[in-house]
């Protein structure tokens, strides 16, 4: 990856000359023989050199141009904000992702949350579901209903949707690999409830490509994963234009230790893979881009890396849409971001320290522009189930940043800082260079199929772990200010065997009483569509309505697509 060696300061610049004089007459003598406390000073993730001082000469050296690099809020290239009035009209939407219990308890929990005045919910599924298995598959033993709701058939969703849909306006469904099946089940369940899809926003995350790079909840080989994700995007654009067909969860690359440049480059290259695939289906860029511009972005503890990343993200998206695709509509050129402090900065040790970390990271999010929404993790996240107190503090952190610090009272207040503009521009340039590298390989799909992205992340994971083990990065509670007497208790979910057995019994009972020949015929249509390249959503819809199970439909696609298995190369190990 391209790493700047530090801006070259032209000696002819009067400020540069003054800086050289200051170095010789003031700073040098004052330092004397004492070494600096770090050698070298570098940013946390990128490890880019940090100069002792930034001046207008640095901006000259990188060719900083106010109009071209920043412009005005709500106008190209959107570096300062995608919102013409920043956060002076409204704050960002303050959200929180919390666990949702499991199985049929979800409806109860969702009703409670709607009663608290929330109008949007996030539905997460267990690992059996997201990996495309039914609850009674032996391979998922112990995972049923654990990480989210168990979803075997339309019956489960009918029970989960026992909700006041007059209050629920927005539902995000977090399911990637089996997305056509999941989308079909939700459409069928909404139909059964008599919900008008125009009055309701379904947002499917549908982010399969990132799963191959780090999270691992994939089923089929990447080309087929991309194809069925594209089917969902196309289906939604054509049939439910008010819905949201994808989120690029850059916030999954970040905990996998993507540095800010890799994060921008890989998540935008991945967005391009989806865009290219949808454009091939005969839609135009100004129609498509506003559907594929939703990103979730984490901010880590290096304050300036965080702020600059958010600023560079906005500009890189705008430039990419304009320069690569010739997009012209503002909706296509504007990225939509949900920002969040990262969980990987939080420690298991001395958990109250995490409140300070969250406050600092949330401030960086706000100073970087916050985006449409912000979500805050909880200070006891590393321990397991969040305590009520942690949930209250999590919500309060965003309100403290919003109402007490004044950081959102003017738009992009750090603009013009010699350091911030230098770092923002360096990130933009390096991200574009890395993106070009990926495009030269044939795009994100190829970079995933060859393991390039996985290996790049694997190296970062190893190097940054070494930084902590060898003490180059000080982390309070982990390798600095540690306490010997500290008990490191981890709460861990215990298997709820009764729940799992009940779910297994239910799905087996369903299979015994449905119209099996009709189900078999519907599954054959799923295989046909998989073979012919027809959109997968309609045959999945037909199958789920006949109560074909989630795992059966996923298996029908396995029959045609095969399964993805990753070796060391493809896992970056």
């Amino acid at each position: 990856m391209n790493r700047p060696t530090g801006p070259i300061t032209p000696a002819t610049d009067p400020i540069a000359r003054e800086e050289a004089r200051w170095q010789q007459e003031t700073r040098g003598p004052a330092m004397g023989d004492r070494p600096e406390r770090r050698d070298p000073f570098v940013t946390q993730a990128l490890k880019w050199p940090i100069k002792p001082l930034y001046t207008p000469a640095d901006l000259d050296a990188i060719g900083f141009d106010y109009s071209a690099d920043l412009g005005f809020p709500g106008e190209y290239p959107y570096t300062r904000s995608t919102r013409p009035n920043g956060h002076r009209t409204d704050f960002w939407t303050m959200t929180q992702v919390t666990g949702f219990g499991k199985g049929e308890d979800w409806a109860k929990r969702a009703r409670y949350m709607l009663d608290q005045g929330l109008s949007g919910l996030i539905l997460e599924y267990d690992l059996a579901t997201t990996n495309g298995y039914d609850s009674d598959d032996p391979i998922v033993e112990g995972e049923v209903g654990r990480a989210g709701m168990a979803l075997d058939s339309l019956e489960d969703l009918e029970k989960a949707f026992d909700l006041p849909f007059d209050k629920l306006r927005y539902l995000m469904s977090v399911c990637n690999a089996p997305q056509p099946v999941n989308l079909a089940m939700i459409i069928a369940a909404l139909e059964k409830k008599g919900v008008d899809p125009k009055d309701f926003v379904l947002h499917i995350v549908n982010g399969i490509l990132i799963e191959y790079t780090c999270v691992g909840r994939y089923i089929y080989p990447p080309e087929h994963g991309l194809r069925i994700a594209t089917d969902c995007i196309e289906y939604i654009i054509r049939n439910h234009p008010n819905w949201a067909p994808i989120s690029i969860i850059s916030a999954q690359l970040q905990p996998a230790k993507a540095n800010p440049v890799q994060e921008i480059a890989y998540s935008l290259a991945i967005a391009c893979a989806y865009i290219d695939a949808v454009l091939e289906r005969g839609l135009d860029i100004d129609t498509v881009a506003p559907y594929i511009n939703h990103f979730v972005v984490n901010v880590d503890m290096d304050f300036f890396e965080g702020v600059c990343k958010l600023r560079a993200f906005r500009k890189c998206w705008a430039r990419l849409m304009k320069e690569r695709y010739g997009a012209s509509k503002p909706e296509a050129l504007k990225i939509r971001m949900m920002t969040s402090p990262t969980t990987i900065a939080l420690t298991l040790q001395q958990p109250l320290n995490n409140i300070a970390r969250l406050g600092i990271m949330a401030t960086a999010c706000a100073l970087g522009g916050a985006g449409e929404a912000m979500t805050t993790p909880l200070y006891d996240e590393a321990h397991a189930l969040p305590a009520e107190n942690a949930i209250r503090v999590g919500a309060a952190i965003q309100h403290i940043v919003a109402h007490e610090t004044g950081v959102a009272e003017t738009i992009d207040p750090l603009a013009g800082s010699y350091y911030v503009e230098t770092l923002t521009k360096q990130m933009e340039d390096a991200a574009f260079a890395e993106m070009e590298k990926v495009f030269a390989m044939g795009g994100a799909l190829k970079a995933i199929e060859t393991g390039y992205i996985q290996r790049a992340l694997g190296r970062e994971q190893y190097e940054r772990n070494k930084d902590i083990e060898e003490g180059r990065r000080k982390w309070v509670g982990v390798n600095h200010l540690t306490r010997e007497d500290e008990a490191r208790e981890i709460e861990i979910f215990r298997l709820d065997e009764a729940m799992e057995e009940e779910q297994i019994r239910k799905v087996r009972d369903l299979r015994a009483r449905r119209d099996q020949p009709a189900v078999d015929a519907a599954l054959e249509k799923v295989r046909d569509a998989a073979r012919t390249g027809a959109n997968m959503v309609p045959p999945c819809l037909e199958a789920v309505k006949l109560y074909a199970t989630h795992g059966e439909i996923c298996n029908a696609m396995r029959d045609v697509f095969g399964v993805h298995s990753a070796d060391s190369q493809l896992m970056g190990i």
């Binding site: 995972e143 691992g216 083990e469």
Partner: protein, 141 residues
């Protein structure tokens, strides 16, 4: 520094549906940097699959990364399968989120060593190297 007749061969694997790989990736790099041969099975493995891979690849060490609650079932099962396959002499180590109270159960079932969260990779390398040196010494004797 100890020199070995041949590099230690290590199979790294993840059992079950849990797919978090940062830990296993860091370990893989650290072992390789220490001169060991590292083979990774990929994700979503059953104990049967891991046992078959361990035998086929003729590894010395089987390392399991687990962040899922299924470890009290899957690890003892893997230890039993390895013994049944005549591969009980391989070192079986596990790491990840493993509560203290589960450690005796796993150790009794045949897991040789458990490294919990926050373990230093240098300690893991040192442990494997000393086990290997001892094994070679026993073989030579």
């Amino acid at each position: 520094m100890t020199t070995f007749k041949r590099p230690l061969r290590v199979l790294l694997a993840k059992l079950g549906m849990d797919t978090h790989t940062v830990g296993v990736t860091v370990i893989g790099h650290a072992l390789r940097e220490a001169g060991m041969e590292v083979i990774f099975t990929g994700l979503k493995q059953t104990p049967e699959m891991v046992c078959a891979a361990a035998v086929q690849e003729d590894v010395d060490v089987v390392g399991i990364s687990t962040l899922s609650a299924g470890h009290t079932r899957s690890l003892p099962k893997l230890a039993r399968l390895l013994r049944e396959a005549g591969a009980g002499d391989k070192l079986l180590v596990a790491g990840g989120v493993i509560p203290e109270e589960d450690k005796p159960i796993l150790e009794q079932a045949g897991v040789d060593r458990i490294f919990t969260m926050g373990s230093d990779t240098r300690d893991i390398v040192a442990y494997l190297e000393s086990w290997w040196a001892q094994r070679l010494a026993e073989d030579a004797a």
